[in-house]
């Protein structure tokens, strides 16, 4: 099934960039946007991210083949409940949420039979928000994780993956549980730590901050409301990840207390080597292998 009518619910940075990327890929799709502010919808039309925009959710999803939830994670449950009765049989629904267990569970609970849900997490974005920062190339070479379950329709999964691929993404599959556990470690914990590193500084320390500190805390500039939703939605995994970080720092503190020079060096060298390997891997990906 080739979708003809795409509905993007929430035309901010991600939703807007999806629209622009669809246009840039010359996909023959009518793009309808939903937003709760007329001004945003107007801008999205002006930028060419959507063809039509509605402040009315049911109007925005009417006749859609493919619906993408681009609102904050905290609104997904309510949105799914409201659009369920409006969707045509066979419609495919996906999302761009940074956590996956709750949205997949809610979708499988509230969407009517015949409407097919596939969880997606396109790993692209920025600490910026809003349609003003939308870019057609935001998704190029980035990774999109889909999170099928035993109840996921195989054809819908393929269609959703084909969609992300067409706008330039690589795809991989994880269970919603695996996704949320690994993302807690590699994304949600680093965000919480960056915020904590900024928060604990005395005023006198801030003028001494160098480029290293600015890089290390860049992600702490992200939107508080968005990250509140993510951290709360994934709180069990985030708390476990915090505990693991504390354990690692405790080992370091013990090595320092004991003056274990060689052990401290190995601890640091292992991290440096691992990061270097990661950077090589990322460069290969950007090379488009």
């Amino acid at each position: 099934m080739q979708p003809h009518h795409l509905s993007i619910l929430g035309v901010g940075l991600l939703g807007g960039s999806i629209g622009l990327a669809v246009r840039a890929a010359a996909m023959p799709l009518r793009i309808v946007g939903y937003g709760h502010r007329a001004a945003t919808l107007h801008k999205a039309r002006e930028y060419g991210a959507i063809d039509e925009g509605y402040e009315d959710l049911s109007r925005a999803v009417r006749d859609a083949d493919l619906v993408i939830l681009c609102t904050p994670v905290g609104l997904f449950g309510d949105t799914l409940r409201r659009i369920g009765p409006e969707l045509k049989p066979g419609a495919v629904v996906t999302d761009v949420g940074s956590t996956k267990r709750s949205v997949v569970r809610q979708a499988e609970e509230v969407l009517p039979p015949g409407v097919r849900f596939v969880g997606s997490h396109p790993m692209a974005g920025s600490e910026k928000r809003g349609i003003e920062f939308a870019r057609a190339d935001l998704f190029q070479n980035a990774l999109c994780i889909t999170t099928p379950t035993p109840r996921t329709d195989a054809e819908a999964l393929k269609n959703v993956e084909a969609f992300w691929t067409t706008i330039g993404m690589r795809t991989c599959r994880l269970s919603p549980e695996e996704h949320d556990r690994l993302l807690a470690d590699v994304s949600h914990l680093p965000h919480a730590v960056a915020a904590a590193l900024v928060g604990l500084q005395e005023e006198a320390a801030l003028p001494l901050a160098g480029k290293g500190f600015l890089d290390a805390t860049r992600i702490a500039g992200g939107d508080g409301g968005l990250w509140r939703d993510i951290l709360l939605d994934n709180r069990d995994n985030v708390r476990a990840a915090v505990q693991r970080l504390k354990n690692r720092l405790d080992s370091l503190a013990t090595m320092l207390e004991r003056g274990e020079e060689e052990a401290v060096k190995q601890w640091l060298d292992a991290a440096a080597a691992r990061r270097e390997e990661l950077v090589r891997q990322k460069l290969r990906e950007l090379g488009g292998e």
Copy 2:
């Protein structure tokens, strides 16, 4: 006193960049370098970072007006003991170390009367090492912290500050104790945390790492030996900083456990606002106000 003869002990990234910056600023100085490898000294001469190079420490400091220690922090004590008897009366010694209490204490203990020490921490560098990465503009607009004590000679302090200013730096003064405490928070802790964040990842998480993770952990790519010295030398402050980070993360974990939406958002918003203010401050500095 205008120095005529500068000795740079250690011609790696920092020592080499000092030489290049002195040349770029057209300071009328003879630059002598010390290194323990002839090949490095040869390169430093080729790049124009030094005029002469010696593998013999006493030869390298003979007749020097200004000596800058650019070897790793862990070697400072030994170097100071060895150069003390070779220095002429009135010579000024400074350093580029990232920790300041130990080098200042050692210098005040072992240098002979008449040789004047001023602790310096030019906050410039990179995760790269070696003369190959030296740059004449490495210090431009960056901050150099000097760490005078009641025993510091006032004229020597002014001369050292004038030197850093001439190669493009801003300067400020802190006591060695204050320096080490604040730097533990704003530099040494972030480094330890970045290494811990890399180290705790499962293999399966690394392919999911995005730009945020790479930025947050960039400093973990630094040299293990160098950072071992820094963390060990400043271990009391680093351990206190680790404890404060753990406390902050514990508060977050408690808010998450209790589902305190508003408190989590405030915690994140406060960090984002603080970092934004810091970025504005850094931009003003780069603007050269």
